[in-house]
């Protein structure tokens, strides 16, 4: 049985369709990523799975439990990190963790050692004595994640865990997420960082306008956009003029001019380098670099969703908050 199974999930707010009939499964012990730009419907999807919002249509099961019917039973298995760090400002780190533990029915002798353990794991032991409102953004995020882990949930939901967080803290958070996976926790995370999804997710779904445009492992997604092979040549002098000739010499190839005046040669089958080098040699042109190009997940994203990757990047700079 899959850890999460979503079928034809739909959510509308008035005339806005936030989630437009999506289906996916999350397998036990994997990191599943929902990747999409602002307004794609990531938060709406998570909120329905965790029982904070009612689906307009469709079915959700978590560990075989129907979330619509047995919400509380399903929620006991979940750890939830919302897109905003939402602990109690006036309470210190330790008390915040203990309070969250109590909400899940943990006794005092269970929750206090567990809170200390998590503070240590997140390197917040010192900060544990300070009120949450005095925390930096990165610390707030870490404590919010720790709070979600307090009852050792079977599945962890993270809504944009690294958005607006500095590089070092983001890295720590990603390492921590991967570590949790190795301990057997199933993880659903949303992000609009393509590299983040590529780096840590076992499987990814591209979400755009409330629909899943494509999903699969990174290699599977790449396969859908890889149509041949490409090599980029960096030459000594401007070799742009040779592009048409190169294309004629190597039948079936397509030669394009790269941004830095390099030549990019695309072929159906893998092209041996030597004949090409001989061609350049004949023309008296020096070649300093020849590199096989692999499409990135970004290329796959752009091609499959039709969304420019710069859209996602701009959002990243803005911090991605509505």
């Amino acid at each position: 049985m899959e850890m999460v199974s979503v079928r034809n999930l739909k959510k509308t707010y008035g005339d806005v369709t936030a989630v437009d009939g999506i289906s996916f499964d999350i397998r036990r012990g994997e990191i599943f990523g929902l990747l999409g730009p602002n307004g794609a419907g990531k938060t709406s999807t998570i909120n329905m799975i965790i029982g904070l919002s009612r689906p307009t249509g469709g079915d959700i099961a978590v560990n075989g439990i129907d979330v619509k019917k047995q919400t509380k039973k399903a929620q006991a298995l979940m750890g939830i990190v919302p897109d905003e760090s939402n602990l109690y400002n006036e309470m210190d780190g330790f008390d915040n963790l203990c309070f969250c533990a109590a909400l899940y029915g943990m006794r005092k002798d269970e929750r206090e050692p567990r809170a200390r353990e998590l503070l240590e794991q997140f390197r917040l032991t010192e900060a544990g004595k300070r009120p949450f409102k005095a925390y930096s953004k990165g610390m707030r995020r870490k404590l919010t994640i720790a709070a979600a882990l307090i009852h050792s949930p079977k599945i962890l939901f993270l809504d944009e865990p690294t958005t607006g967080i500095d590089v070092e803290s983001s890295r720590q958070i990603r390492d921590m997420i991967v570590g949790l996976k190795h301990q057997g926790t199933t993880i659903l995370l949303t992000t609009h960082y393509i590299e983040e999804a590529e780096r840590i997710c076992d499987r990814i779904a591209f979400l755009a306008n409330g629909q899943i445009v494509a999903s699969g492992t990174v290699p599977e997604l790449m396969e859908r956009v890889t149509h041949g092979h490409a090599i980029r040549f960096v030459t000594g002098e401007n070799a742009e003029r040779l592009a048409p000739e190169l294309q004629t010499r190597f039948e079936g190839s397509e030669v394009m001019i790269g941004a830095d005046h390099s030549l990019v040669m695309e072929t159906e089958n893998r092209q041996s380098l030597l004949p090409v080098m001989q061609f350049f040699h004949e023309k008296g042109i020096d070649v300093y670099e020849a590199k096989e190009l692999h499409p990135s997940l970004e290329d796959a994203f752009v091609e499959l969703t039709g969304i420019e990757s710069s859209v996602m990047k701009e959002e990243k700079e803005k911090g991605g908050r509505r």
Binding site: L52, P82, N86, Y88, N89, F99, C100, A102, L103, Y104
Partner: protein
């Protein structure tokens, strides 16, 4: 067991974070105290005993309604309230835990005028046991009304405005200052739709035997109000907070 732990810790947290904060404690003392003094100055000849039911009711009403409405709206705007909605505890436990802190605060508020009155008059003759239950019922119904306001308010200032919108008319219609029999005819049915009317009437009976309804009837009606308000709160939370 699990629910009990959650209930107890929500209550403890609210008492510690909100009700035991110096501004709220002093509000809880100063407010009833100033009402008491104001009434004494206004009618120096008036017996404190006559004023006491009104002072107690007012203190409870003002201590509970806006308190719960404001703290919940505050937690909702900081989104920490989502944690309670996402916790594996029933909505009943959640509502009970949230109103319990306010009810305790209301009881504390009620105690203040009684405490001050005890310096001026002999209070031994009162039926304090029954009066305590009346205060408890006023506190519970007022807290539930506060919760109802919280469900409708999006922002803290809205919560405050809505609370006042409810509280002031209630004070004047509940028969404490103007006997219901002297109200314009069209307002009288409204008076009988307010839980405070019944709570205040029991207090009047217990403190100076000037009640107009049978205390048993009043308690029964307050109980019905409690159940109804509880159900309405629960269904409103379900409808408006689980979007």
């Amino acid at each position: 067991m699990r629910s009990w732990i959650a209930f107890w810790n929500i209550l403890k947290k609210d008492v510690k974070n909100y009700y035991l904060k110096p501004p709220n404690i002093s509000w809880g003392i100063i407010f009833p105290l100033s009402w008491t003094l104001m009434q004494l100055i206004r009618s120096p000849g008036g017996s404190i005993l006559e004023l006491l039911p009104g002072l107690i009711s007012m203190s409870v009403l003002f201590g509970t309604t806006s308190m719960l409405a404001v703290t919940i709206t505050f937690e909702r705007s900081g989104r920490s309230f989502e944690r309670l909605l996402l916790a594996p505890i029933s909505l009943n436990t959640l509502v009970l835990a949230k109103i319990s802190g306010t009810v305790l605060f209301g009881l504390f508020n009620a105690f203040v005028p009684v405490f001050f009155a005890s310096f001026f008059v002999d209070l031994k003759g009162m039926v304090w046991g029954v009066a305590f239950f009346a205060v408890l019922m006023i506190a519970i119904t007022s807290s539930l009304m506060g919760l109802l306001i919280a469900v409708s308010a999006e922002q803290v200032f809205e919560a405050q405005t809505f609370s006042n919108f409810f509280r002031f008319p209630m004070l004047f219609l509940c028969g404490l200052f103007v006997p219901i029999a002297k109200l314009p005819v069209f307002l009288r049915p409204v008076s009988y739709c307010l839980p405070l009317t019944y709570g205040a009437d029991i207090l009047k009976g217990m403190i100076n035997a000037t009640n107009t309804l049978s205390p048993v009837l009043s308690f029964a009606i307050l109980l019905i109000f409690t159940v109804l308000l509880f159900l309405v709160c629960r269904s409103n939370i379900n409808r408006k907070w689980i979007l």
